[in-house]
C-alpha cells in the first residue's frame, strides 16, 4: 500500500436518537462504519482502523405510541389515571426497543493491483444488545380490570412477545467496485451469543363465557413458552461470586457455546452522472442455541364451570370433596411450569436499507470561473427506506435527506424521518476535518430535545477511527 500522504483522521461521533434506524450514518461514506449499513457502499479511503472500544458506540431506545413522560410526568396528576390512560391508548402491536452496539475493534484496507485498488476488505468485532418487547395489552387489561367487565372477551395470550439478545458479531466484508457504475459487497458474520431470552411463539387464550350448567364457563387454552440460553449457568451456579460470572461471560465473547451464522449484502448503482441508488440487506442469519438452555413451558387446556357438590353426575359414590380435589389437581396441572432444555434457533432481525440519490452543484473555481472537474458534486438529496423484521411484523421508516459538502473536509447531512409513530423526526450529522483530525457529530429527534422524556425515539452514536485518506 503506497501511502505518500498518510492522513490520520480521527473520527468522533455522538448522536442521540431512539430507533435502530441509522438514517444519518447510512450513505455517509466519509465514515467507515457506514460500510456496516451497506457492504456495497462507496468507499473513499484507502484504509482505516477503529480505535479499540471507541470506534463505534451506539445506543438507542424507542417506544411506539407512548413516552416515558406519559407515564412519569411529575405533574400532580394521579399516577393510576395516567397509567390507565396509557394502557388504553396502547395496543398489542405497540413495542419498546433498546439497541446498543459497541465496536471492540475494526479495520479495513483497499486491495487489488496497485494501479487500480478497486477491492476493499473490512473486518471487525462488535457487541450488540437488542431488546424488543411488545405491549402485553390483554395481560394488562386482565390485571387492571379482571374478567368482570370482560365476559365474552378472549384474553389473547400471544400478546406476550419479547426477545432480548446479547451477542458479539465477528465479521469480514468484501467490497468490489466493478466499474464506475456498480459496486457490490458482502459481509459474513459469526454470531456468538452471550445470552438470549425469547418468548415469541406464545398462543392460547383465557375467556369467560355464559355457561350451560352454571353462570359462567371459564376456558383456559394455555400454550406459553419462555426460552433462555446462557442464563442458567449464571443464575443457578452455587457461588454468588460476580467475578466468576464475568469470567464466564468473557469466554463467550469469541466463539462461545451458542453460535450463529449470517451475512449482509448490498450494492450501489450509478444510474447517471448525478443519479444513483443503493440497497442492502443486513443480518440474514440465525443463532442456534444448543448449550446452557433453560426453557419454561406452560401448556394445557382446561374448562371450569364450578362444581356440583350435592348431585354430581358421576354416581360412583365419589364424595364432593374427592370430586373437588380432582378439580384442584387439574388447576395445579394447568399452571404447572415445565422446565426443558430443548435446543432452539432464533433468527436475527433482518434489516433492509435502500435509497435513491441525486447529486448536484459542482464547485466553481474562482481563478478561471469554471467548474472543478474532479471535485465531484457538493450537494446531494435523496430518499431512504429502512425496514426491520420484528417478531410481529415489519417496522419501516422513510427518510428524506439533504447532504452538503460545505468545503473540503467538512460535510453535513440533514434528515427528516417519518414512521408510523412519528412525523417530526429531524436529524443532523456533521463531519469536520481540521488539521487531519476528523470529527463528526450526529443527532436526531431534534424537535423533542426540549423534553427528552417525551420523546418516543432517541439514539446516541460515538466513534473514533484512524483513516488513511485517498489522495487526489
Amino acid at each position: 500500500m503506497k501511502l505518500k500522504c498518510v492522513q490520520f483522521i480521527l473520527l468522533f461521533s455522538v448522536s442521540i436518537c431512539l430507533s435502530q434506524n441509522k438514517q444519518i450514518l447510512y450513505g455517509f461514506s466519509e465514515i467507515p462504519q457506514s460500510l456496516l449499513l451497506n457492504p456495497g457502499g462507496n468507499i473513499d479511503n484507502k484504509g482505516y482502523f477503529g480505535i479499540p472500544l471507541l470506534s463505534h458506540i451506539h445506543f438507542n431506545g424507542s417506544s411506539s405510541n407512548v413516552s416515558v413522560y406519559d407515564f412519569f410526568a411529575d405533574d400532580g396528576r394521579d399516577f393510576n389515571v395516567k397509567f390507565r390512560n396509557a394502557v388504553n391508548r396502547l395496543n398489542s402491536n405497540d413495542f419498546s426497543t433498546i439497541t446498543q452496539q459497541l465496536e471492540i475493534f475494526s479495520g479495513g484496507f483497499a486491495i487489488g493491483p496497485s494501479y487500480e485498488k478497486n477491492e476493499y476488505l473490512s473486518f471487525g468485532l462488535y457487541q450488540e444488545f437488542d431488546f424488543i418487547a411488545y405491549f402485553p395489552k390483554d395481560y394488562a387489561v386482565l390485571a387492571l380490570e379482571g374478567n368482570q367487565n370482560n365476559i365474552g372477551r378472549p384474553f389473547k395470550l400471544d400478546d406476550l412477545n419479547l426477545n432480548a439478545d446479547v451477542l458479539t458479531v465477528l465479521h469480514v466484508g468484501y467490497n468490489k467496485k466493478v466499474n464506475k457504475n456498480f459496486t457490490y459487497g458482502i459481509r459474513g458474520k459469526i454470531y456468538s451469543s452471550i445470552f438470549n431470552v425469547n418468548s415469541t411463539k406464545n398462543q392460547g387464550r383465557f375467556i369467560t363465557v355464559q355457561g350451560e350448567n352454571n353462570i359462567y364457563e371459564h376456558i383456559f387454552n394455555l400454550d406459553l413458552e419462555l426460552r433462555t440460553s446462557g442464563l442458567a449457568s449464571l443464575i443457578n451456579d452455587d457461588n454468588d461470586d460476580f467475578d466468576n460470572d464475568i469470567k464466564e461471560i468473557r469466554k463467550r465473547i469469541l466463539f462461545g457455546e451458542n453460535l450463529g451464522l449470517g451475512f449482509d449484502i448490498g450494492f450501489t448503482s450509478q444510474i447517471t452522472d448525478q443519479w444513483y441508488w443503493d440497497a442492502s440487506l443486513l443480518d440474514i442469519g440465525f443463532v442456534s442455541h444448543a448449550n446452557n438452555i433453560e426453557n419454561y413451558q406452560l401448556k394445557d387446556d382446561f374448562t371450569f364451570e364450578g362444581i356440583d357438590p350435592l348431585f354430581p353426575e358421576s354416581q360412583d359414590g365419589q364424595t364432593a370433596d374427592e370430586y373437588w380435589s380432582e378439580i384442584e389437581e387439574e388447576f395445579e396441572d394447568l399452571f404447572e411450569i415445565d422446565t426443558t432444555r430443548t435446543k432452539y434457533t432464533v433468527w436475527r432481525p433482518v434489516k433492509l436499507n435502500a435509497s435513491v440519490n441525486y447529486a448536484f452543484g459542482k464547485k466553481k473555481l474562482k481563478d478561471c470561473d469554471c467548474l472543478a472537474e474532479d471535485g465531484g458534486y457538493l450537494n446531494r438529496v435523496g430518499a431512504q427506506l429502512y425496514a426491520i423484521k420484528r417478531p410481529r411484523g415489519i417496522q419501516a421508516a422513510l427518510t428524506a435527506y439533504y447532504y452538503r459538502r460545505i468545503f473540503n473536509g467538512l460535510s453535513a447531512k440533514a434528515t427528516y424521518t417519518v414512521d408510523p409513530y412519528s412525523f417530526s423526526n429531524i436529524g443532523l450529522g456533521i463531519s469536520a476535518n481540521i488539521w487531519g483530525l476528523n470529527m463528526y457529530v450526529m443527532a436526531d429527534n431534534f424537535l423533542s430535545y426540549q423534553n427528552i422524556y417525551d420523546s418516543q425515539n432517541v439514539s446516541l452514536q460515538l466513534g473514533l477511527n484512524y483513516i488513511f485518506k485517498n489522495e487526489d
Binding site: I215, G306, A320, Q450
Partner: protein, 165 residues
C-alpha cells in the same frame, strides 16, 4: 433556556394499584323432585363438604378486599327448600354461615330468586381463614313428595372477588 428534560418522578410507580374484579363460577346443581324420593321415602337433606385451599394463599390473604357470592335459584317443586352454606376453619369451627330459602311452587311454575352475600372487613377475615365449605340442602315441611311429583330445583352461583394489588 434550552432544557432537555421536564420533571419526571419515577417513584410514582409505587402508587400503582391494580383493582381487578374477578368473577368465577362456584357451585351448581339441578335436581328433579324424584331425586328427593329415594327407596320409597323422602330424602329430606342432601349434604356434603369440600376442603378449600383457595384462601390459604399469600396473594389472596394480602390482596382480597371484598367478596360477593351470588346465587340464582329456580324452583318448580311444590316444596320449600333451604340451602345452608357454612365456612369452617381447619379445626371444624364454624366461622361464617348463611341460609338461602326458596318458596314452594304450588302450580309448578318456576320461581326465580337471586341471593347475594357480601363479605368485607371482619367477615371477610373469617372467609379468608376458612378451609372447609359445607353445603346442606334441606327440604322444608310441605306437600309430600312421591315418584309422580313434578318440578325441579336448580342453583347456579358465582363468586365476585375484588382485589387491590
Amino acid at each position: 433556556m434550552f432544557n432537555c428534560t421536564k420533571p419526571v418522578d419515577f417513584e410514582q410507580l409505587d402508587d400503582l394499584t391494580l383493582e381487578p374484579v374477578v368473577e368465577s363460577s362456584l357451585i351448581f346443581y339441578d335436581a328433579s323432585a324424584q331425586e328427593f324420593f329415594v327407596g320409597g321415602t323422602e330424602q329430606i337433606t342432601a349434604e356434603d363438604f369440600v376442603e378449600i385451599d383457595f384462601f390459604n394463599n399469600g396473594f389472596i390473604q394480602d390482596n382480597l378486599i371484598k367478596v360477593e357470592f351470588v346465587f340464582n335459584i329456580e324452583n318448580s317443586i311444590n316444596r320449600p327448600y333451604s340451602l345452608q352454606i357454612r365456612f369452617l376453619d381447619s379445626a371444624g369451627q364454624s366461622l361464617e354461615s348463611f341460609t338461602i330459602n326458596t318458596e314452594a311452587s304450588a302450580n309448578n311454575q318456576t320461581i326465580k330468586n337471586t341471593h347475594i352475600e357480601v363479605f368485607e372487613d371482619e367477615s371477610l377475615e373469617h372467609i379468608k381463614r376458612s378451609r372447609i365449605m359445607v353445603f346442606t340442602l334441606e327440604m322444608l315441611p310441605g306437600e309430600a313428595i312421591d315418584e309422580n311429583t313434578l318440578g325441579r330445583i336448580s342453583l347456579q352461583s358465582k363468586g365476585v372477588f375484588y382485589l387491590r394489588v
